[in-house]
């Protein structure tokens, strides 16, 4: 594992709480991105991402230092996000209204700040549209697609994060890709 990360973790375990802020700085964007892509809403993303770091801090003793810290952290974050989705939509269906479309999104928040040039507006709309398509995926395909194509993680890492065999991860990526293809092929 990364020596810097290992050193920080040892410091935190010794009782230096402030050292934990270095870990947050290192991983906040990645964890926040996964949470946002899973939930499609800035408030919920912030909530889940912060909760993930707090749980990591509280449970740091159960973290095996010989494994990759980011894998462990991503696992906490994706589990929290999946729990949140389950609570929000106990019976999720493809044809349900897209979660978060009525809500504040990262991009609509950005766009409202100032008047943007035309090409940037187009870019923001494109980004919102991609997120909407991601949100239509059932959560089990959504998590696999996000980790593979937005976080660029290996199948092995994704399988550790999701606690699934590599073969299952592959199937989920294939099905997620097919579901997206059917919707995006005419774009």
């Amino acid at each position: 594992m990364d020596a810097v990360v290992k050193k920080i973790i040892i410091e935190v375990k010794k009782g230096d709480q402030q050292a934990f802020s270095e870990l947050v700085e290192l991983y906040k964007d990645k964890v926040y991105q996964v949470a946002y892509r899973m939930l499609g809403n800035v408030h919920e993303a912030q909530d889940v991402a912060q909760e993930a770091f707090i749980r990591a801090y509280v449970n740091l003793d159960s973290y095996d230092v010989n494994r990759k810290f980011s894998t462990w952290l991503f696992r906490i974050a994706t589990n929290l996000a999946i729990d949140r989705i389950r609570k929000k939509k106990p019976d999720f269906h493809l044809e349900d209204q897209v979660a978060g479309t009525e809500d504040l999104t990262y991009y609509s928040q950005l766009a409202s700040d100032e008047e943007l040039p035309e090409d940037q507006v187009v870019q923001l709309e494109m980004q919102e549209w991609i997120q909407d398509e991601i949100m239509i995926l059932p959560p089990k395909y959504r998590s696999a697609i996000i980790l593979k194509y937005m976080e660029d993680l290996s199948l092995k890492e994704i399988s550790e994060i999701l606690s699934l065999p590599v073969a299952t991860v592959k199937t989920r990526i294939h099905r997620g890709r097919e579901a997206l293809r059917k919707r995006l092929k005419n774009e």
């Binding site: 802020s21 906040k28 991105q33 912060q50 509280v58 003793d61 997206l180």
Partner: protein, 82 residues
């Protein structure tokens, strides 16, 4: 959709670069003659490209401070465990 379910599976395998050279050659020669499968692969490639074009998202500026202010004073540690 690909011409057969079997070919759909092969197309995904091709996309993931998990084929032997022989399997690859076999599928490629099929793609030349089958417009259905050729289109299927093209659409999947486009789909992946669209998803990968999503921007990287950054956490809000106040993120680290918020986390640090919410940490419990002492982590719950099992003192007898070393």
């Amino acid at each position: 959709m690909a011409c057969t379910n079997e070919n759909a599976k092969l197309i995904h395998k091709y996309l993931d670069e998990e084929m032997t050279l022989l399997e690859k050659k076999k599928l490629e020669s099929h793609l030349v003659t089958c417009s259905i499968c050729e289109r299927h692969l093209r659409e999947l490639r486009k789909t992946v490209a669209i998803i990968q074009s999503a921007s990287h998202i950054e956490a809000p500026k106040s993120f680290t401070d918020s986390v640090m202010s919410r940490l419990p004073a002492q982590p719950r540690r099992n003192k007898w465990k070393t």
